[in-house]
């Protein structure tokens, strides 16, 4: 009796996998960055997706919409690996991050930078489930039904959690605004 051997995965499989990832990486990375607000964490998260996807390459290739599957894995991983992306006491500095020079720039640029700082600071105080709902609904524009299929949560649960997440983010942003105002004018006048 012949003994078929298991194909350990030759070069062609690796090439096919590389092509798949090449095709979808930018979209995955953008979604990961929106969730983590960190280039380092976004890269790490997409790498985890790749690790999960490679053993299932055959299945993924057969899918009509592999990108949807990859994004779903990314969203689930983000929540499953929540501890890795929880608020950090020491903020990871991205390789390409620009430091504020301290020199005065155009007022609108400074204002935009301040807004971005406020959002990123508030974002780090949100838990991964809250971030996920905000990204899916308010940034990516998924409908409640689509989020339901992605997360398995009931529509009513999504609505109430989404509202709580928005309220929390709004209050964090307000707090930062107050602190910034006090720093700009300690007398509060």
């Amino acid at each position: 009796m012949g003994k078929p051997t298991v194909d350990p995965g030759g070069e062609s499989e690796q090439v096919r996998f590389a092509a798949l990832i090449q095709l979808h990486y930018q979209v995955l990375y953008r979604a990961a960055y929106r969730l983590t607000r960190s280039e380092v964490d976004a890269e790490d998260l997409v790498q985890e997706v790749c690790v999960r996807a490679y053993p299932r390459l055959d299945e993924v290739e057969r899918l009509e919409h592999p990108r949807g599957w990859l994004l779903r894995v990314l969203y689930r991983l983000f929540v499953d690996l929540r501890r890795r992306y929880e608020r950090k006491n020491v903020r990871a500095i991205d390789e390409n991050e620009e430091f504020v020079s301290g020199e005065p720039g155009p007022p609108e640029e400074a204002e935009r930078a301040l807004d971005r700082w406020r959002i990123e600071d508030a974002w780090r105080h949100m838990n991964p489930e809250q971030r996920l709902l905000l990204v899916l609904h308010d940034i990516e524009g998924y409908s409640l039904a689509e989020i339901q299929s992605l997360t398995g949560l009931k529509e009513g649960t999504i609505k109430s959690r989404l509202h709580r997440a928005r309220v929390r983010l709004g209050r964090l942003l307000q707090r930062d605004q107050v602190v910034t105002s006090m720093l700009e004018d300690p007398r509060g006048s």
Binding site: K3, Y25, D138, I139, G152, V167
Partner: protein, 211 residues
């Protein structure tokens, strides 16, 4: 008007009838939570249009390389038979290693009962079986047969896998990345032969809804 509805009305302003909008505005004017929620929506709108720098090829290659380096099927093919010291006669056993992912039903303790593992539907679960060998065995043949709605991650569609491997003296563990692709579950048959010696065991794989 509920907070969620008021915020939704304000968020989709322009597509709402005037009466609804007025009611929502009245609600929001007196509701700190809704004001905070609208502040968040406004801030997130800015993020929606934020451009993301395209990632370079080196970063993509890093992700691909890492996936190729940690491929689970490679790991179990090459190194699954992890030897552990023991001198008992050759006997089959089932080892529960991935605590929390799956368990054996108490029925498995009954004579001749088929051990059961419970795995999450459509998710990879590492299931480990152990084989005790009294001596090192070169070129033992491993045969894994899959029945029903069960697959091995990385070998989608393959029902029958065979390969040769060396066994250490003592307990050798075989970890299989099992995926239940349907709620009906299935069975995994593992058969190890070396010369006249043969040992086979069957696992019942039951699917459980994730989460």
């Amino acid at each position: 008007m509920r907070c969620e509805d008021a915020v939704e009305t304000m968020r989709t302003v322009g597509s709402q009838p005037g009466a609804s909008l007025r009611a929502a505005m009245d609600h929001v004017a007196d509701c700190g939570d809704c004001q905070a929620a609208l502040r968040a929506i406004d801030a997130l709108r800015g993020l929606r249009d934020e451009p993301t720098e395209p990632v370079g090829d080196a970063v993509i290659q890093r992700a691909v390389d890492r996936a190729l380096a940690t491929r689970p099927v490679e790991r179990y093919r090459r190194g699954f038979w992890a030897g552990m010291a023991s001198g008992a006669a050759m006997a089959a056993a089932v080892a529960a290693l991935a605590a929390g992912l799956w368990f054996f039903s108490p029925r498995s303790e009954a004579p001749n009962a088929v051990p059961q593992v419970r795995v999450a539907l459509n998710e990879r679960s590492d299931v480990t079986v152990a084989l005790e060998s009294p001596e090192p065995l070169a070129n033992a043949e491993v045969h894994v047969e899959l029945r029903g709605a069960v697959e091995l991650a990385g070998y989608a569609g393959q029902r029958d896998l065979r390969w040769s491997t060396d066994l250490d003296r003592g307990i050798n563990q075989l970890t299989l990345p099992v995926v239940a692709i349907d709620a009906s579950g299935g069975q995994v048959l593992v058969e190890v032969t070396h010369g006249q010696k043969r040992r086979a065991f069957v696992l019942d794989v039951r699917a459980a809804a994730p989460g």
